[in-house]
């Protein structure tokens, strides 16, 4: 036996370190099991209180009791985390001392090896191989036994064959689906950015537009365009501090209600910084005639009924858009479409989401391989399918509305994509800002860059305003007011005219008339035909960047401070406070 003082010192250190490790381990294990009784998920006390609260939801004393108990659990949880961390380091140190000391002690105690020549190696090897084979067989049986136990311990109630799967799926209750308004109702109203199909063209109405019928103050700023359904006009406004939705009477301009969208679950109290030019309320709202839907630049999405009560809210953020989110919402039937393109020069979580309007439930979500964009998608019936056409640098991508699967894509775009596409004469007409006006056939599959481009034109290409078409002709307006008419069939330029006014809003067509809204007024009316003819100009006392809405023969405009309704010659301007 080694009795040297060095050996004894190492052995004693190893013993002390071992006892220390055991003590620390003991405390940590005790704390671990004691903490199990304080688990908020399983605590019988807390669960009982919750059950009680479900029966008496307005019992404030009960709520306070639950909060206090929850807070106590959380405090203890954090204390335990701190204890675990300290214990972990102590254990690590103790184990290190134990191992080093024990190792040295063992090395000092170990006698020097004195191996003897080995005899009977052959027999030994044969015997060992035989044993190894049997023990391997035992391992195999043990593995099979373990798997059998796993199999028996996890019986499945799911059916084995596909038919039974379908039966089970069919038996599963689906969420109730409410009827959507008829298509004619959508067409008669202005339910989203640039009308029901995003084309900027309104249903025929024979009323003349010659002056302002009423104007109404808008409480908070925003660059979104008005939407109209029946006798209601909706807009939103927002700042970093507050974001609201406004419902106006379309006939009188009276502000019927205003509702703040706040306390959205998951939405952080501090909103991201957004450039002032974009603001917090740039996306235009949408409505399906049952509810109105609103999206703000901080990622808050909300649904309100026509009386201004909130139906549901969701937080879709945080949004990573260098100029702030400005893509408007789109609606199709009773489903809501949200295009959230994000990232600076590279894609960073861009996605397309279809939600059920009634519940806000996500029906599908698809990632998009593009960076941030500001164009609004359109939903079109083309090539026998309901397609969602989206734009973002560099791809035009079409998705199937039914399941969100990609149908086709074309690499045609450059620069920052702001103008939205339109469907005209069976072609998707779109702008690559300041570069090209393009027309695509929407009946392809896969990459159609080289196969489905119908025509392009590089003349007077806008960078902000979207094109508009009456089917036969396509009209574009540049930021400096240069208006150009193209033939939809082949892209041939028919005429061009400088309107001598700056323009940011997209043009619209109603009843054969082309409406172009100047940034500081006027509203210019042209004949939407093969020859240029100006039909009139209505001066306006505001600044306009939002696109006009057309419904019931009226034109609704959103200025910086007021909402305007224009229509047949007004005898006297009605002004709402």
């Amino acid at each position: 036996m080694n009795t040297s003082p060095v050996y004894r010192a190492f052995a004693l250190t190893a013993w002390i370190a071992g006892v220390f490790c055991l003590l620390v381990c003991g405390v940590m294990i005790y704390e671990h099991f004691a903490a199990a009784t304080r688990d908020p998920w399983t605590s019988p006390r807390l669960l009982a209180l919750r059950e009680k609260l479900a029966a008496e939801p307005k019992n404030a004393a009960l709520q306070k009791q639950i909060r206090q108990l929850d807070l106590e659990f959380r405090r203890k949880f954090r204390q335990r985390l701190a204890l675990d961390k300290t214990g972990g380091w102590l254990l690590l140190g103790g184990a290190l001392a134990l191992v080093l000391a024990a190792g040295q002690a063992a090395a000092l105690k170990k006698p020097p090896p004195l191996p003897q020549p080995q005899t009977g190696v052959r027999e030994l090897a044969v015997k060992r191989a035989s044993r190894a084979r049997w023990s391997l067989a035992a391992v195999g049986f043990a593995a099979a036994g373990s798997l059998l136990i796993v199999r028996l311990g996890h019986t499945s109630v799911l059916p084995a064959n596909p038919a039974a799967w379908q039966k089970l799926s069919a038996k599963a209750p689906e969420a109730p689906v409410e009827d959507a308004p008829a298509l004619s109702e959508f067409q008669a109203n202005w339910p989203r950015f640039r009308g029901w199909d995003g084309s900027g063209a309104s249903a025929p109405a024979s009323k003349a537009v010659s002056g302002i019928l009423w104007r109404a103050a808008i409480p908070l700023p925003g660059n979104n365009s008005p939407i109209v359904w029946g006798d209601h006009v909706f807009i939103s406004g927002g700042t970093a501090a507050r974001r609201e939705v406004y419902g106006y009477n379309a006939s009188s301009g009276a502000l019927l209600w205003q509702r703040a969208i706040e306390n959205v679950p998951g939405s952080p109290p501090k909103v991201p910084e957004v450039p002032e030019d974009t603001g917090y309320a740039a996306p235009t709202m949408a409505t399906d005639g049952r509810r109105v839907y609103v999206l703000f630049a901080n990622g808050d999405l909300g649904a309100l009924d026509f009386g201004g009560s909130i139906a549901w809210t969701r937080y879709l953020g945080p949004l990573n858009n260098p100029y702030g989110c400005a893509t408007s919402l789109a609606i199709w039937g009773n489903n809501l479409l949200v295009q959230l393109d994000q990232g600076g020069s590279r894609p960073a979580g861009s996605k397309l989401i279809l939600l059920q309007g009634a519940s806000g439930r996500v029906l599908w979500e698809r990632p998009r391989p593009v960076p941030a964009s500001w164009a609004t998608p359109i939903v079109v019936e083309a090539a026998g399918k309901t397609q969602i056409i989206t734009l973002a640098n560099p791809w035009v991508i079409s998705y199937a509305l039914a399941d969100g699967n990609e149908l086709w894509r074309a690499q045609l775009l450059e620069n920052e994509i702001v103008p939205s596409p339109v469907l005209a004469g069976g072609l998707v007409v779109l702008l690559s800002p300041s570069a090209r006006l393009l027309a695509l056939r929407p009946d392809g599959a896969g990459d159609v860059t080289r196969t489905h481009l119908a025509w392009t034109s590089a003349e007077n290409v806008p960078d902000i305003a979207s094109p508009v078409s009456n089917g036969e002709l396509v009209f574009t307006v540049t930021s400096s007011g240069m208006t150009t008419c193209f033939q939809t069939r082949d892209g041939k330029k028919i005429w061009e005219k400088e309107l001598e006014t700056d323009v940011q809003a997209s043009p619209g067509i109603m009843d054969g008339r082309l409406f172009i809204l100047g940034e500081h007024g006027p509203l210019v009316t042209l004949q939407a035909g093969r020859e240029f003819r100006e039909m009139g100009r209505i001066p306006l006392p505001d600044k306009f960047v939002a696109s006009p809405a057309f419904a019931g023969g009226h034109v609704f405009l959103r200025g910086m401070t007021n909402l305007y309704c224009l229509g047949p010659a007004a005898s006297g301007l009605a002004q709402q406070p």
């Binding site: 669960l47 380091w89 191992v99 190792g103 191996p115 191989a129 599963a172 991201p272």
Partner: protein, 438 residues
């Protein structure tokens, strides 16, 4: 030369904190006005791309140094310090992730899930040690693996595991590898990482089960050299195979083997094998040949039986997937409604399933289909592993010297200085002395 290397090492250590300072999240989390700091959603936290490449660079450099130390310097001391560096860097600093042990899962997940692009760093961590092993044996295990280094540190008094037991338990890593790749391929999860018993020590955090398992491995590791590497590590299994085909191999003696058996005593991992003497009676191998023939014939049967048994496991194994588990709970709730507490995970998950049961069931059906195929393959794999091992145990070795087993040797270099010839070469013992019996 050594002095220059030392300075490069010191400079490298000084640059490490600079790398840590530069690590920033690509998308900064929102600031909370309450002062609450958002915890990282992943452990370790995500790193910017160039730091990941820097990790891969450090990894490749460590591999190169390990090979140099084993073959050129034949230095156990050098390997010891390299393994300490690896333990500190890849273990405690990088918290055991990304590591080669789990990286085959990334590769397999990428193969079966087109939406997932395997990171270049994962490919480097997965294939570089295998490539090195094909040429130079298990240099990764010797000095770069933090799990191995941790077990080496706790080894106090090694006892020999009987070779027959060692051989039998040697198939477990391959079974674990199969299970891990099945789970990764189906998209269920990375179970090799989840059930790595030593990673929780690098993170000073872990679940009860895995911490207990880790503590058990470390306690066993005080007396059994590297128990995790030998009897569980799936990547060790891969390297064991690659090492069998390696171009160069570790040689105990730089000269002629004196068969003194000192090296046998020095290996704590039971990797040293004695010479196999020639058969005195040429007729006696007949039963061995007969057994080998039987086992070769049995191999396809074992694979088929394993595949069949694996297929029976599919409904249970699929429940490892959270989507299938949710569908099971939902279906069970339809036939035998159970009452769960308000806002409990069970109740919340059932609410989620009830919101869109069609989608939940469709996803579960798809996953079950994947598991059907994967379990066939897994069962067949187990049959193959056991069959091949049985055959390997029935093949005679032609060794004439004491040599490390090519697959089992982790190239730790402990045996080098145990060899009298090596000691002579190093000048630690006189040439032609008594320590070299003829």
């Amino acid at each position: 030369m050594f002095r220059r290397l030392k300075w490069i090492g010191v400079l490298g250590m000084m640059l490490l904190p600079a790398l840590m300072i530069c690590a920033e999240q690509r998308f900064p989390p929102p600031d909370f006005e309450s002062g609450y700091s958002l915890p990282s959603p992943s452990t370790p936290p995500t790193r910017c791309l160039w730091l990941q490449y820097a990790d891969a660079g450090v990894f490749l450099a460590a591999l190169a140094v390990a090979v140099w130390l084993i073959y050129k310097k034949r230095s156990r001391r050098g390997l010891f310090w390299l393994s300490l560096f690896s333990l500190a860097y890849f273990g405690f600093y990088r918290k055991g992730c990304l590591c080669p042990i789990g990286s085959p899962q990334n590769v397999v997940y990428g193969l079966f899930n087109p939406d997932y692009a395997v990171p270049v760093t994962a490919l480097i961590f997965c294939f570089a040690p295998i490539a090195v092993t094909l040429f130079a044996g298990r240099a990764f295990c010797a000095g770069v693996c933090p799990q191995g280094a941790l077990q080496d540190l706790v080894l106090v008094k090694p006892v020999a595991v009987p070779l027959w037991l060692e051989e039998a338990l040697g198939v477990v890593p391959f079974i674990f590898l199969g299970a891990g790749l099945v789970c990764a391929g189906t998209g269920t999860g990375f179970v090799i990482c989840r059930y790595d018993p030593l990673v929780p020590f690098f993170r000073l955090s872990g679940g009860t089960f895995i911490l207990t398992a880790g503590a058990a491995f470390l306690l066993a590791g005080m007396f059994v050299g590297r128990p995790y590497c030998r009897f569980l590590c799936p990547y060790g299994g891969l390297l064991r195979l690659a090492s069998l085909a390696s171009k160069w191999r570790v040689r105990v003696t730089p000269d002629v083997c004196t068969q003194c058996r000192l090296c046998e005593q020095s290996c704590p991992f039971g990797a040293m094998r004695e010479p196999a003497p020639a058969e005195s009676n040429p007729a006696s191998p007949a039963p061995e040949r007969k057994r080998l023939a039987w086992l070769l014939a049995l191999l396809p049967l074992l694979i088929i039986a394993g595949a069949w048994a694996g297929s029976k496991l599919s409904p249970a194994a699929a429940q490892l997937d959270p989507g299938v588990a949710l569908a099971e709970r939902y279906a069970r709730q339809q036939s035998h409604p159970a009452r769960y507490g308000l806002m409990t995970p069970e109740a919340l998950s059932l609410d989620r399933a009830a919101a869109n049961p069609g989608a939940v069931l469709a996803s579960a059906a798809d996953m079950r289909h994947r598991f059907d195929l994967a379990c066939w393959l897994f069962g067949g794999w187990i049959g193959l592993v056991i069959g091949v091992k049985l055959i390997a145990l029935s093949v005679r070795s032609g060794r004439t010297d004491y040599e490390p087993d090519r697959g089992a040797c982790v190239a730790c270099a402990r045996c080098f200085t145990a060899c009298p010839n090596e000691r002579v070469r190093l000048g630690l013992a006189p040439a032609g002395g008594e320590s070299a019996p003829s």
